[in-house]
Each structure stands twice: as structure tokens, then as C-alpha cells.
């Protein structure tokens, strides 16, 4: 059920971080490896990667020795870019109580509290670039896999 991001978006974030890490040395990563590396259904992540590659958040090449990778310019994308691509602006913009007309001049009862939360969220996602996660992963200080 409910969480900050959709399941699709969760997988997308994990996958991009994973691919960025693995492709750092120039090699490419296959779908099977991604699925295994982040514990996701293979066909489902394939779908998501297609989408991410169309939006140029990751790169891909077909054929033997093909696979997915993250080039150096894409490494400077932030997590916010991924979330925006998959889940849209809602997490940054929408009213916590689902009111379309909620605004500064016509706030819902939680408007101000949620503004803070959203700002913190935005700051977090905006300031974390894809490239930055590699080191902690390599050092085993953080994880993107269940087991």
C-alpha cells in the first residue's frame, strides 16, 4: 500500500543507482543482472528501464555486449529527476489531503506542516546526484538489495 513513491519508482531509483555503480568502469549491465542485483521482477524492471532510457536518465545499447549504463552526464542527474520522470510532480506539489484547490491563500488544515515536509523531501532528492551513491555502496555502508 501507501509509501512515498510508487513501487515502479522505488525499483527505478534502485536500478539507476545499481547500474551507475556497476557501469562506472565503462562496462554495460544486462537486465538479468539488474533484476538480480536489486531483487526486482525481471520483466517488470525491463519495462521501467525502457522508460528511463527513453527519458535519457540511463543509456542502453542492443546486441552482444549490450546492456544498460549511465554515462557521465547522466550521472549528474538527481534522484528528483527520476522521481519526477516516474511519479510526476505530486510528491513535490500536491496537497496532503488531496485538495486540488489547496494553496497559500486557501490552505488545508495541514498545509503549512506539509510544506515543510515536502521541502525537506525536495531538498533531499534534489541534492543527491546519481553518481554520489557509488562510494557508500562499494564500501558496504549502504544497500539496495534485500538479502
Amino acid at each position: 500500500m501507501q509509501m512515498f513513491f510508487s513501487k515502479t519508482c522505488e525499483y527505478a531509483i534502485r536500478a539507476v543507482i545499481f547500474i551507475a555503480q556497476k557501469s562506472e568502469g565503462g562496462r554495460k549491465v544486462g537486465i538479468k543482472e539488474v533484476a538480480a542485483g536489486i531483487d526486482s521482477p525481471e520483466h517488470f524492471i525491463a519495462k521501467i528501464l525502457q522508460d528511463l532510457s527513453k527519458r535519457e536518465l540511463i543509456q542502453s545499447s542492443k546486441g552482444p555486449n549490450g546492456g544498460f549504463y549511465v554515462d557521465s552526464s547522466a550521472r549528474s542527474n538527481t534522484l528528483a529527476d527520476i522521481v519526477r520522470a516516474i511519479d510526476g510532480e505530486k510528491i513535490f506539489k500536491g496537497c496532503g489531503l488531496g485538495l486540488k484547490s489547496c494553496s497559500e491563500t486557501k490552505p488545508c488544515p495541514l498545509h503549512n506542516d506539509f510544506k515543510e515536509i515536502r521541502n525537506k523531501m525536495q531538498l533531499t532528492l534534489q541534492s543527491a546526484t546519481i553518481g554520489e551513491f557509488n562510494e557508500n555502496l562499494n564500501l558496504g555502508l549502504s544497500y539496495i538489495k534485500e538479502r
Copy 2:
């Protein structure tokens, strides 16, 4: 699509606040009035109110002059109680990247940032009691209706 709470939970929060406000003087509020007052589908909110009343977050009585109301003890429930009743603990507990094994000792790359966000969320919901919203609503300083 994605937001902090499920649609059901959004309606639930708005409805409880609405009923608390309207029933402050002791009168009871019918389903139709609730639906109109918070812009929700009538039959859907009926379902949700049933549930809330079973969980004693609101009270109800049948028959003529019946309806829903919030008694004084229920007024001291917090928004967190409503969210917990409808959406469960996920918003307070779950990992932002959907990892079941995410923890202090095996954190996902966003673990610490999300901990802050969740804490702020919990604090917000925990410290706001149902009864507290009436005044701002009455003064027209906040709104729970679209139009």
C-alpha cells in the same frame, strides 16, 4: 496516483475534521451533509465512516435525528490515529525505497534522510488533535472543501 496518504485516508481525515466541527454543539451530521461538506462521493464516504465509527474514531447513531458526531473523548485523538487506522504503519515505518531489510545496520542509500522526513511527519500527525482544527475552519483560515 501517489501522495502521502491513500485517497481513502484523505477522505477520512477531512471527514473527521468536518464532523468534529459541525458536531461541536451536540448536533449530528448526516452522510449527505458530510459528502457535500468535503466533496467526496457519498457512498464511498459512507463506507469509510462505518469503518471509523467501528474503530471509535467517530460516533454514530441510527434513526431519525441520527448521524455522525465526534464526542469529547474522541476529539483528543490525533491525526496519526486516523492515518494508522486507515493506512497502517507504513508511512511511519517503511523504507523509502521499499526494502524490507532496510535498517540502521543495513541502511538503504536514503535511510537517514528519510528518517528525518518520517519523524517530521510523525510529529506533525501526532501533535495535531482532531479538536484543534475547528477554530481555523470557523474563522475561514483553512478549508477542507474544493470550492
